[in-house]
């Protein structure tokens, strides 16, 4: 890798421009432009032709709409916290490899690749009132009434977990197993116990990756759409903000309002990202200070 970097002269010639231009144009035309157009469209409501923040006012004065933010947070936040903590626990435990690791990680890739639609269909069958889980529990006399696990809040959490846990776990496993094991060895040689090694050596090294993983999982689950519709209760307890945006766009055909909802959704995600970046910056200072004091 170092070899490729030897050519450090700053050069932008014709070849570089020709090579970069197609992909760059693509990202600008298909990603940056629609984004800006969305912001523009949200400020130009259908009926009036003047600039107006009517859509945003409408969103924040209508409880049916603005409660979707709360609903989405209520789904995304607990899910991301649990997913990241569990993934950290298991990825840390597996950092030096375990028996059948390749098989286990291969199986964990499945839910990521199959996608949320297939998983939700399976969850409907497996966790449904007549599903295998309820039959098993009823058969073993553990419960008297079948558990209501689908078409509600729990169903969406289940579906999000099945999708996000493997993703976060594999991310952290790749990250943690890349940390130089000699650091841990030195700490152990100097007499640190397992907890001290985790707390004072490994955690500060993992923290930056951990926060990015948290940000990714949070942002992903904040945009939850298909599982909120399929295994949730899209008209009630799991009406997330992306459902609100979708309804405006494709059921009421009000693209301007839909763009406004999409912008609000984007701003919520951006806000969460900024908070995480601030925490991360603070943490890095704290760890360097910790090193300085010793």
């Amino acid at each position: 890798m170092a070899l490729a970097r030897t050519d450090s002269r700053s050069e932008v010639d014709l070849l570089a421009i020709v090579c970069l231009l197609p992909s760059l144009l693509y990202v600008i035309v298909m990603f940056v432009y629609p984004f800006l157009y969305g912001v523009y469209a949200s400020l130009r409501p259908l009926k009036g032709d003047a600039w107006s923040i009517k859509n945003y006012v409408a969103f924040f004065t209508d409880p049916y709409q603005y409660t979707t933010i709360k609903t989405t947070f209520a789904l995304a936040l607990p899910n991301s916290v649990v997913v990241v903590l569990l993934a950290l626990f298991f990825a840390y435990g597996m950092r030096r490899g375990i028996w059948m690791e390749r098989t286990i990680t291969t199986i964990l890739v499945l839910p990521i690749s199959l996608g949320v639609i297939f998983l939700s269909e399976g969850i409907l069958g497996f966790y449904g009132t007549n599903g295998w889980l309820n039959q098993m529990l009823l058969g073993a006399d553990i419960i008297k009434e079948p558990l209501e696990l689908t078409h509600n809040f729990i169903g969406v959490i289940l579906s999000l977990f099945m999708q996000n846990f493997p993703f976060c776990f594999l991310m952290l496993l790749g990250y943690i197993s890349g940390i130089d094991p000699s650091l841990e060895h030195s700490a152990r040689m100097l007499g640190a116990g397992p907890w001290t090694i985790f707390r004072r050596v490994m955690l500060p090294l993992i923290a930056p990756g951990l926060l990015i993983a948290f940000a990714l999982v949070f942002v992903m689950s904040f945009a939850v759409f298909p599982s909120a519709v399929m295994v949730g209760q899209p008209a009630g307890s799991t009406r997330t903000i992306s459902i609100a945006a979708y309804q405006q766009a494709f059921e009421l055909y009000d693209m301007s309002y839909a763009s406004a909802v999409a912008v609000i959704m984007g701003l919520c995600q951006l806000g969460a990202l900024i908070v995480i970046i601030l925490v991360r910056r603070r943490m890095t200072i704290a760890t360097t200070m910790g090193v300085g004091k010793r």
């Binding site: 030897t6 050519d7 992909s23 693509y26 990202v27 990603f31 939700s120 269909e121 007549n130 990015i212």
Partner: protein
């Protein structure tokens, strides 16, 4: 002793998760082969009729053809655009590079539902929304950056000395590309192609927002049928889900010969490049 308890906890949890997953997947498979199934652990009789039912009633032949067409088009274009960009990003240093990398990074970071709605609005305005072209154009938005980021480390592994030696021996730029870079990049191109293929087949959000009557991919058609629920027998929907699963898993099996599972997800150190 303590170490052993720790390992046991890990195995029990992962086993639980995997059993759960196997339960979810096999419930769909069993249901696809069930004649009638209600309130019993296993259906009393099995049949393959639901596959032919699904094939004719959901027009699966056409849906599969469109899915494959879209997926192959996306793989081809993503590689064609991403390959030269990854080469320059791996080989050159220039001042705008961090900004460029961030720009390629954003479509992967921001959820598809968030930028999908403004993107769909724009594409419908230009009349390509609801067509096969619209789906291809939209799905390419995250796939081009994905291709760039998967190809980058492969380029970085090829020593620059090889290019220098080739040019010293009188090879032109074009010859270096065909005789040196391309042969060495075959594993990178295969890996990228397979991962983009899997991600395109299973991409839901963008394909869903952009697809119309004749341009539904398999996973979008599956969603509509699950959502419509009750209209079609659930067994036929599960038969369709099984066909989708077989499609994804066969690409995945080939892909896993080239990549480690931890490479299938986002790389957390990507931003540090």
């Amino acid at each position: 002793m303590r170490n052993r308890t720790w390992k046991l906890v890990i195995y029990i949890f992962l086993l639980g998760f995997i059993l759960n997953l196997v339960g979810i997947v096999s419930h769909v498979v069993v249901s696809a082969f069930a004649k009638r199934w209600f309130g019993k652990p296993l259906p009393p009789a099995f049949t393959t009729d639901w596959f032919s039912y699904a094939w004719t009633n959901f027009e699966l032949g056409q849906v599969l053809f469109i899915t494959l067409f879209i997926a192959l088009a996306v793989v081809f274009i993503a590689l064609a655009i991403g390959f030269p960009a990854a080469y320059i990003l791996a080989r050159r240093n220039f001042r705008a590079k961090p900004v460029l990398l961030l720009m390629y990074f954003l479509p992967l970071l921001i959820p598809q539902m968030t930028y999908g709605i403004p993107l769909a609005t724009t594409l419908y305005k230009f009349g390509v929304g609801g067509t096969v072209l619209g789906v291809i154009l939209a799905v390419l938005v995250p796939m081009v950056p994905l291709a760039v980021f998967i190809l980058l480390p492969f380029f970085e592994q090829i020593s620059l000395n090889l290019e220098w030696s080739a040019s010293m021996l009188g090879a032109s730029r074009l010859q270096i590309f065909y005789r040196v870079l391309l042969p060495l990049m075959v594993p990178g191109i295969l890996t990228t192609g397979l991962l983009v293929l899997v991600n395109t087949i299973s991409n839901f959000e963008l394909a869903f927002l952009l697809s119309g009557g004749g341009s539904q991919t398999l996973v979008v058609a599956l969603y509509y049928n699950v959502f419509a629920g009750g209209v079609r027998p659930v067994y036929s929907i599960d038969a369709m889900a099984v066909i989708y699963m077989v499609m994804v898993m066969s690409v995945l099996l080939v892909a896993l010969r080239f990549v480690r599972p931890t490479q299938m997800v986002f790389r957390l150190d990507q931003t540090r490049r």
